[in-house]
């Protein structure tokens, strides 16, 4: 039985694969996207329990994707974990202001990411 459906959006294929493998090893059903636009298209389907989203991507940034997800009724409350190399306080503030539930900076601990994903999903349950 799957722990949940997660969408991973990152233009770095290695990071995408790493996060996807870590989560699928833990029992999650994972879908990947390598750019903001395709990530948004997949995300707006509303099929996912959580989205792991890179911020700095060519074309549509993770913050723009997040704002669009929040604007859509079916994804307004979908938990989003931002995974980014941007470590400045103002970047963190921007991420949370846009509606992120968690903000992790790179380099990141895959183990910690899994813990945070599980915690975010647990908070959602009644």
């Amino acid at each position: 039985m799957t722990q949940g459906k997660v969408l991973v959006v990152d233009d770095n294929q290695d990071i995408c694969d790493l996060v996807a493998l870590k989560l699928s090893n833990a029992g999650f059903e994972v879908t990947q996207a390598n750019d903001g636009l395709s990530g948004l298209e997949l995300g707006l389907s509303g099929d996912f329990d959580l989205v792991v989203l890179d911020v700095m991507m060519p074309g549509m940034s993770g913050i723009d994707v997040l704002r669009r997800l929040r604007d859509a009724e079916q994804t307004a409350t979908t938990p989003v974990l931002l995974l980014t190399a941007k470590t400045q306080e103002r970047d963190v503030e921007t991420g949370f202001a846009a509606g992120a539930g968690e903000y992790m900076t790179k380099p990141f601990s895959p183990r910690e990411l899994l813990v945070r994903v599980k915690a975010m999903l647990a908070r959602r349950q009644p």
């Binding site: 790493l18 380099p107 601990s109």
Partner: protein, 333 residues
């Protein structure tokens, strides 16, 4: 004569055609060669990638056996594995990273990189410094410190970045020294390196920052102010405050005034208020006023009131943003 001219023309055209064909063939050969090399590299990476990913996604007792597989990669494949592991260090930290560092140490990666820091080629020295920084082991520190004086600015820059990655606060003064005139190491690289070091141990950076705030070089002082503010090194706050009024450089006075938005408290208000004096540099006045506005306390905002009639429109705008103050004469029930 006409026959000779025709002959020369024909031969010239023939030679030119041959050169064009040769150039075309060479271009095609290079592209094909690159394609072959790229595919070969991809095939090699495809062999090591799953092994490295297995380590990076391993839990607890899975880590050691996964690392053994990476450690057992045969010699012809090892350079590919080493490059892939080092590339992963940009993105990953934690126990799994530490485990892979040990694999690299056991396979001699650090030793080879340290040896390469004395290579004749600047490219090799820079790459060696990068590897030492990525491995992040203190044994590489001495070789990197030496590279801060390298003849090549690119090597010096990579060495500065690597020292930041090594995380040893004892090199902070040396890093700031890399900003000396003629060094050309970007201040942003040194600043980022210091911030990286300071995130682990801010206290250890204090002596170096305090010294740098009094340095004769403007870039060093600017960098020290920026780092102190970013890391919230509060013990340096009063030294930063002194820079607001007494630094010979307007740029440093501006940076220091803005830094007090993070480092300052009630004690900084008189300093900032003095910095808004009409005799001060316009940029400094604006920075000080902006900081007083950001502080938002009644005392701070009171000092903006006189600026409502200032000749500088930006200062007037900030003063108006402050709104009516609580301690304005005549205010009250």
């Amino acid at each position: 004569m006409l026959v000779l001219s025709w002959t020369v023309l024909v031969w010239t055209l023939t030679v030119l055609c041959a050169l064009c064909v040769a150039l075309l063939l060479a271009t095609v050969a290079v592209r094909v060669g690159r394609g072959v090399l790229a595919r070969r590299r991809e095939a090699l990476v495809a062999q090591v990638r799953p092994l490295v990913l297995e380590v990076l996604t391993a839990e607890d007792d899975e880590v050691a056996p996964a690392c053994e597989k990476v450690a057992a990669v045969p010699e012809p494949l090892w350079p590919t594995a080493e490059r892939y592991v080092l590339a992963a260090f940009d993105s990953v930290r934690g126990e799994v990273r530490d485990a892979l560092v040990q694999v690299l140490l056991d396979r001699g990666t650090l030793a080879r990189a340290v040896a390469a820091t004395t290579a004749r080629s600047a490219v090799r020295r820079a790459r060696a410094a990068e590897v030492v920084g990525l491995v992040g082991h203190v044994d590489g520190r001495r070789s990197i410190v030496r590279l801060l004086s390298d003849p090549s600015v690119e090597v010096r820059t990579v060495a500065a970045r690597a020292l930041g990655q090594l995380g040893d606060p004892h090199v902070a003064a040396l890093l700031l020294g890399a900003l000396r005139p003629g060094s050309d190491v970007p201040a942003s690289i040194v600043g980022t390196a210091l911030i990286g070091i300071g995130e682990a141990d801010t206290t250890a950076l204090e002596p170096a920052l305090e010294g740098a705030l009094a340095d004769r070089d403007e870039i060093v002082r600017l960098t020290a102010v920026a780092v102190a503010a970013e890391l919230l090194v509060l013990p340096t706050a009063r030294y930063v405050g002194e820079r607001v009024l007494h630094d010979p450089s307007p740029a440093v006075r501006v940076q220091a005034a803005r830094a007090l938005a993070r480092l300052g408290g009630a004690w900084a208000v008189p300093t900032l208020a003095s910095a808004t004096a009409p005799t001060e540099d316009p940029g400094v006045r604006l920075a000080a006023a902006r900081t007083l506005l950001d502080m938002g306390t009644p005392t701070a905002l009171d000092h903006l009131a006189p600026l409502r009639d200032d000749l500088d429109p930006d200062l007037r705008r900030l003063a108006l943003e402050a709104g009516p103050t609580l301690t304005t004469e005549g205010a009250g029930p």
